[in-house]
Symmetry: C2
Subunit: 403 residues, 2 copies
């Protein structure tokens, strides 16, 4: 089994779950995902790795050389419905190619190297968040057992159908044997392309606060109610959306989004008496996340007071940011430069398995540019030369970490 | 047939179409509306008026005295579904009481006095706008013939069911015999109550421009897209809503409302790529309506340019404001003061038959306060003393106009 170009490998792998949209639908605990595991597993074995799928459904290929904690390298093979060929897959295929290149040049690691494809990174099928890497890192994932997909199949049932037992997922915990984690991924954003940089050196994975905000004013006749006697919930929502934008623009790496908005009663000639909206707030540091949280609360309270609205702000989820290991960040930057790549330090605005693993052991992420910032779409694309460069940098970082 | 208090008359009349909500449902061309006509018609006859229903379905009670053009006085008897007892009915009942009071004191008009209840002022059943007063004023209403209600019954069919022929509606045109129009109505807004005034002297009926605005930006990942690289259609919508509010607040009598808003794709973690919203813009003068129209266009174009959005602004309807006859406005203000009432000159933010009739002959409107600004609801209410005061002012204005 000879590996061709990285792009060719991704094309081949993309056949598993290829759908009519031209994209890839390879959700967690499906035959298509296990077929992809098989394809990767064959290539792991050809590289002399010991292949297993752990009790949480993570695919592992272990290069059992050297001593001490292993260097874990990889990403995930599951996709969102009608996703692309690169999200996740690049990190696994890249690890295969990186190990192959190190073997070609006769490099022998001083410590074990494990390639991993974590189960269900996307979380779209059951709504469980990172169950594979969580189990690997020692977190209890049995709480996700009753989470179910659109057909009513629970995670526990889906695992059973493939011969797995959620109750035994804790046996997947191997983090104690791991020294560091490296993940190559597409950026899924516009920054590298906009800045003309080839490699993104990820400094942090942003923390996220999700809110549901309800604003209650007074529905009224849009013609007979003078402007100064209105309690317009949509005006309140508009001020909050703009206030959030202003705040986020002024903070390094912070983003804010109002993505879902419902305006009631919804008559063109009725002043909106009620608005419900979501706020997605992200920040790269624990301190900036806490400050942003306070800013949201202040903003909402201030607008509600000034507009005479009743505000009900509920935080629906919270994940703290993870600042990646400074030494690994430094190392990735240096080896990337050593490979002749232009680099940019940047936070990751999306979540990744590295966020889970990185809480336990030093972790680093390497980004390659996404054409047009498109991801979670059949149109997801990265230029072949950028794919090769990413794998070169991953191989160099792996060599450094495993020496 | 003795008329008791105005409030008692409205209670009695409110039995026709009384519904389970505690309100009144008396839509156009229904047996309940004709039953109300019968109740009013009996009382007209008791006052010696000649009662007819014209070919457009308008109820007329003519006091055929004096010479020259008649003074038309009234409003409408149809309601919105689950409406109140006052909207429209007050103007008709008030006209009955006013004529009765003038007769009691032995006043003989120098010109004919016609009480009118225009058919289908609300327009909610068929979506036709002011068909009764339009036909009376000489406008062709056959274009509404195929307009249909929720059950698929067309206006033409509904008229046939009651023995009327839409093709003959033009025969209802009597505007040439009318000298002036007086309409007593509830305010349906909060101004009189907020200002502590008893009688609103309506200076104008606002013109209305309706718009549908579509904003197209770029749907994108809310985490990976930096703030400065976003084309957020909802941010554009928010700026436009606030810009409209600021504009309207700075102009006398102008209102602006964004009442219906759709945000797509609607994911909490997706930057809104598309927003559709409605704008309801009203102004009391032709000049202020034209200026407001230009302000909307400038605002939308400016925000779209600054935010990198594509904007499609479509004017879906336009009705010019009607400035009411200055002499009649002055007269109403004087007679109201003469009756000891506190007055406020104000525009009407809602449309009325006076807008249609007032384009052909001098018209005036008299407002009484609405408790809590509630209208089009079973809770519509005006204090009995305010009802009596309104009728006193109407009677005095009628006496003045008919002298």
């Amino acid at each position: 089994l000879i590996l061709g170009s990285v792009a060719d490998s991704l094309l081949e792998l993309g056949e598993f779950g290829a759908d009519r949209s031209g994209g890839v639908t390879r959700e967690a605990w499906t035959p298509d995902l296990f077929a992809a595991y098989e394809w990767v597993g064959e290539r792991m074995r050809a590289l002399g790795l010991e292949v297993t799928v752990d009790p949480a459904g993570n695919l592992l290929g272990r290069w059992n050389v050297g001593n001490g904690g292993a260097v874990l390298v990889g990403s995930h093979l599951d996709t969102v419905p009608s996703g692309g060929r690169l999200d996740g897959a690049l990190g696994v295929v890249g690890a295969l190619h990186a190990v192959a290149r190190l073997q070609e040049v006769g490099f022998t690691p001083a410590r074990p190297v494990w390639i991993v494809a974590f189960m269900d990174e996307e979380g779209t099928r059951f709504g469980a968040s990172y169950p594979g890497s969580r189990a690997f890192a020692g977190e209890d994932i049995t709480r996700y057992g009753e989470f179910h997909d659109a057909d009513g199949v629970t995670l526990a049932e889906a695992m059973s159908a493939h011969g797995y037992d959620l109750a035994r997922a804790a046996e997947a915990t191997r983090i104690g044997d791991v020294r560091a984690f490296l993940e190559l991924h597409i950026e899924q954003g516009p920054v590298l392309e906009a800045e003309g940089k080839q490699i993104g050196v990820v400094t942090a994975i942003v923390g996220q606060r999700d809110y549901r905000l309800q604003l209650r004013g007074q529905a009224n006749h849009a013609g007979t109610t003078p402007m100064r006697l209105r309690y317009d919930a949509f005006v309140g929502a508009a001020r909050i959306a703009l206030g959030l934008r202003d705040y986020a623009r002024a903070q390094a790496g912070v983003t804010a989004n109002v993505g879902r908005v419902t305006v009631l009663p919804g008559g063109s000639n009725v002043i909106p008496g009620f608005v419900e909206l979501t706020i997605d707030l992200r920040a790269p540091k624990v301190a900036s996340a806490a400050a942003a949280e306070q800013a949201v609360e202040r903003l909402v309270a201030g607008v509600a007071r000034e507009e005479g609205l009743e505000a009900d702000l509920e935080q629906t989820s919270a994940a703290d940011p993870l600042e990646l290991d400074p030494d690994l960040v430094e190392m990735v930057e240096q080896v990337a430069s050593g490979e002749g790549a232009s680099t940019l330090r940047m936070p990751s605005g999306a979540g990744h398995d590295a966020m889970v693993i990185g809480r336990r052991v030093p972790a680093a992420m390497i980004f390659v540019p996404s054409v047009g910032a498109i991801s979670h779409s059949p149109d997801e694309h990265t230029h072949p030369a950028d794919l090769e460069r990413g794998v070169q940098v991953l191989a160099a970082a792996l060599r450094q970490t495993a020496s």
